[in-house]
Amino acid sequence: MTEPKDPVLEVDQLSVTFRARHGDVEVLRDVSLSIGPGETLGVVGESGSGKSVTGAAIMGLLPSNADVTGSVRFLGQELLGAPESVMRDLRGRRIAVVAQDALTALNPVHTVGSQIAEAIKVHDSGPTRAQLRARAIDLLDLVGIPQPSARVDSYPHEFSGGMRQRALIAMTVANEPDLIIADEPTTALDVTVQAQVLDVLARIQERTSSSLMLITHDLGVVAGVADRVLVMYSGSPVESSDVDSLFHATAHPYTRGLLASMPRIDSRDRSVPLYRIPGLQPSPAQRPPGCPFHPRCDVAVVGTCDVDLPLPTLVGPGHISACHLAESTGGRP
């Protein structure tokens, strides 16, 4: 066990460049984050912001044409450059991933129970078949699958979408990992099913005190689940803080724009149209000079924002904004 205050995951200046035929593309630039024990970090951004690449880079699951620099420390151990045997031992046991698409993540020709059992067996050859089966049933029960002792012998196609996602979570947490990385775990699901899945994740976290990195495009989900939030834009983190400050003391113009562009279920003011962020997020191959957000920003300053890349600035306790206009409170972020 580590000291309670030591982070489970510490990422420092993580950058990823894909080598491609038409030249190199820097898809991730200087991502730094940390997740404490039992803490939930929401990583938010629109399509192409680099949030999924961040998750894959931490797990060491990027293709071979990716150059990764920086540092990823898991419980104090450096993962970048670690031998594959070390990574294989960590993956699925200490760090686990919940994929977005449960139908493709599950093997259609094996029963759900045998797939959960396999996840345990890979890391621990001790338990007998009967013990593995009992453990699989227990896990299916934990994620709220009705009649788990019968369902353990079902095939993935016999499950509904929400049940598949829960079965996948059961497999993910089978070895009680220290860190769960969930990449858009509820995106393909209906809201009532999303509520069930988020509830399951919260209950599991309570029981195993795992840390959770929740990658999502939905600020609503983040507001309900996360302790801290990291907002990504065009491969860089633009703002990070505790969840309350992010929503109530928003510092970065992009985060402000995102929040203002969301219709809300709890109110409707017909006199004000939704805020629309002009333009589009640039692809990493065509990032503008200076701040990547400046062409769409309504407060951008000519001569500064279009020239220099803004550095992360501490704007409040534990609250960082990468904006030239951020008022620094002093101290080092």
């Binding site: 629109e46 399509s47 009705p146 509904s160 979408g161 049940m163 209906d190 809201v191 009532t192 099913v193 999303q194 509520a195 069930q196 509830d199 495009h217 939905d218 600020l219 609503g220 989900v221 983040v222 507001a223 309900g224 969840v243 309350d244 929503f247 109530h248 724009g257 995102l258 929040l259 562009s261 969301m262 219709p263 809300r264 279920i265 709890d266 409707r268 149209p273 939704l274 805020y275 629309r276 962020i277 589009l280 997020q281």
Partner: protein, 325 residues
Amino acid sequence: MTPLLEVRDLVKEYPVRSGVLRRVTGSVKAVNGVSFTLEPGQTLGLVGETGCGKSSVGRCLVNLAEPTSGDVLLGGQCLSDMSPRELRAARRRIQLVFQDPYASLDPRQSVETIVSEPLFLHGLAKGNEAGRTAELLDLVGLNRSSLRQYPHELSGGQRQRVGIARALALEPEVIVLDEPVSALDVSVQAGILNLLEELQNELGLAYVFIAHDLSVVRHVSHQVAVMYLGRIVECAESDELYANPRHPYTKALLSAVPVPDPRVERHRHRILLEGDLPSPLALPSGCAFASRCWKASDECASIPTLTSPTSDSLHTVACHHPEIT
């Protein structure tokens, strides 16, 4: 007064085939007795989860699917009674915008060809097709330089604008929008929602807005109908429905939608539904929601629910035990 669009007891069944001979062995009732009306300049939001039949309703409205029974009336005239010539004229008045603008635009046609095609098909703006096409692009906020572009050169939001321009070409009175923003990022979605609102105010369009996102539906709709397994279980004026949901399903659905504000989220109570949807192949004789409802009694399982008005006569609900407000 005749409403602009009226749907009466619409039923749409799809045959289920099985075996080597593909014999029809049963049917799925995708839409099971849906009725509503729509007035000019108004938006009806049709919400529900996957498989509730909302898209099937949309397809019946524009005659892409033939209703099994029931009527769709446009300006008091029933679509199924129309001659082919009348139907062609009626099609001009009601148009559809699809969810995935990439799949619904021909990749080999330029934007100009896509948007002007309906003009040629219906013989509109004769001699001035190019001028009208350019106007349509202005109307949806696209640059005229896009005329020569192909769908793959456009962003998702721009493609959806092309889809809207194509629907507007025939100067329809009603547009059926089937999940028009669900494939888009929020910052792009806001632009499309604002555009739809502007077009409605400018042209007096009526919308049937089909979506699963309840926040978006609240934003655009004047009236909202909630569907569950082929039926409208609750319908009301938008603010009333969101403030005072009467059907337990509506209540559960609204409680499940996250609000982008952690302080609000901390005090919200989520109703988690247990159990699964009954198979649409064998719908229960009583209320279809009874198997997942925490208020269900014996009568719910056996006696069908009827749509009845509440204290607010525009607010209807199909439930044996509606919430009391």
